[in-house]
Symmetry: D3
Subunit: 131 residues, 6 copies
Amino acid sequence: MGTVALLRDDELSPEAAEVFAEIRALRGTDYVNNFWRAMAHDPAAMRALWDRLRVVMAPGALDPLVKEMIYVAVSTANGCSYCIHSHTAAARGKGMTPAQHAELLAVIGMAMQTNGLVTGLQVEVDEVFKA
Amino acid sequence: MGTVALLRDDELSPEAAEVFAEIRALRGTDYVNNFWRAMAHDPAAMRALWDRLRVVMAPGALDPLVKEMIYVAVSTANGCSYCIHSHTAAARGKGMTPAQHAELLAVIGMAMQTNGLVTGLQVEVDEVFKA
Amino acid sequence: MGTVALLRDDELSPEAAEVFAEIRALRGTDYVNNFWRAMAHDPAAMRALWDRLRVVMAPGALDPLVKEMIYVAVSTANGCSYCIHSHTAAARGKGMTPAQHAELLAVIGMAMQTNGLVTGLQVEVDEVFKA
Amino acid sequence: MGTVALLRDDELSPEAAEVFAEIRALRGTDYVNNFWRAMAHDPAAMRALWDRLRVVMAPGALDPLVKEMIYVAVSTANGCSYCIHSHTAAARGKGMTPAQHAELLAVIGMAMQTNGLVTGLQVEVDEVFKA
Amino acid sequence: MGTVALLRDDELSPEAAEVFAEIRALRGTDYVNNFWRAMAHDPAAMRALWDRLRVVMAPGALDPLVKEMIYVAVSTANGCSYCIHSHTAAARGKGMTPAQHAELLAVIGMAMQTNGLVTGLQVEVDEVFKA
Amino acid sequence: MGTVALLRDDELSPEAAEVFAEIRALRGTDYVNNFWRAMAHDPAAMRALWDRLRVVMAPGALDPLVKEMIYVAVSTANGCSYCIHSHTAAARGKGMTPAQHAELLAVIGMAMQTNGLVTGLQVEVDEVFKA
């Protein structure tokens, strides 16, 4: 379906197989999703991405569920269907309730609306907002 | 600068003035930002937006700071400069720390990157992600 | 300011000067806006664009004002500040009233909002909508 | 398929059922499209959206067909597949002819093209365009 | 599936049939892809697009493969699934190797990421970058 | 102007100062552009980005000038003004001629146009394009 084939486990390079093993260990499941099977064509890029992604999405000043919801928000504005599905599922896996999902969507919708209004009006940024 | 003039207080219709009064009361400041001064040309639309915005951004299943960060995320993906400035300022007003801001930006950057990769690869959505 | 210099009249190639003359004749003004002064670096592209633009924006099954408003709508969703300014001005030049402008913006805002909601929900297209 | 299930009529809350009844009455058909079946998980948001949508899309300074075409234009620039399908169908229902559809698409394409050119050139906004 | 039907060869107007003949001659194959079958509803627009596309994508200061990769980059940022598929295929037809495809995707991802970071930070353009 | 202050050299953490030194060494100039002065608030993110950016933009299967042009293409579609300026300047620094710049812009414009047309038409992907 995609622009590259999804690689099966027996088609992986050793470097890609190593990342797959880490994904499985971290997530506690044998299932590896299609994104990584497509990325596996470029093991170095996959490694760099996986290493960075773990750092960025780890608990920190923001909790992981908040990070997943921010991820969904960006992916929705960009219209990335796969990303919306995978990170909505990830947010649910981290405890997002139906009420939280509904509020996430409401904020996204509101932001989209005012983005359009502000942009159509070409409102000048208030001095007080500048750092 | 914009596509409509920013209205001064003495140019407001009674309906618009009423919304301005509510904005001032809720925020505890006399300052009303440029967006509302542009919206004031359409008092009915301003009223509808203000009424809905208060509901959507109020504390609920998500806390208001998380909502502001989601707002910044959407606005960034949409490239709405005004919205990024105003909602980053709003998030700071609700307690966003520099570390939280840095993590917000890191998640946005990561989401943008994988949005691009997934979209370029046209990865098919995994069945397990579908509701 | 831009990524290329804006060309003055005395810097134009003969092909570019010819397009400038046509722009002035059609619009009935000596003023040529910055976009064409930037495009003039590539006279062949400018010619192709100008020729096609006149056809597309001419009265047809849709009237020119409606076309300008559609142009503003696309430019707003794409966040093209220059385009929003120039086509809002063009729409005004073709008779857009403040009330029409307000409704244009309201529809843009509503469309942006439901675009975000539908995309976040990943709603499947109804069979009845397909051609 | 989506990130939430589409609700059947017998799964609706009373508040959601009331909106469904209004949709059916206004449109004169029993068919309720998937978007509302997804929105029905959040009856308050659905109610607020439905109430506002009727106002924004009603005849006013712009006629409803023009509004639907503006909706299609925004949805196309945002790449919202569902929205393009549903509002193209709605525009047809309000009388959009094939010739009008072709012109709508031509203007969208032209706007997208010059949005890209202007943005790549980073053309500065002419003073004459500012309100 | 689309918002218009895909026209079969026996449904084409003479003007559309002429463009189809040119597409087949230039590409050396009888296969005409769906985009042109949808565009064929508007033969004049199809003709204008086809004539311009051949000029823009022809060998020039940039080679055709580079042009196809730029096309994929824009289409990916815009989330145009059809365009990504068709121009990735075209790039392959013009010799794009798997290593080149991987680097194309890596640059797209990196650009998306820094686009998000720069936009979220609202970094002011350095004077040295201005033309 | 931005959402964070641009850090001067004497405000940098040791980790950020180290990255600045590497940027200066690689580019052979003392000038460090605003993006890095904004990123310096998060030295770990700056380090990760700088390390990855050097790899992705290095000569490989694609030459660095082509990579810069792809970067400009993505940034243009995303409307990132800063990125367009900085990467157009970088492309010039790597030898992009005015003719190449003009062709880059023409391809971007053409891609934007057909992205809009294809999306508005909701053309189904041809089987032959799928990997």
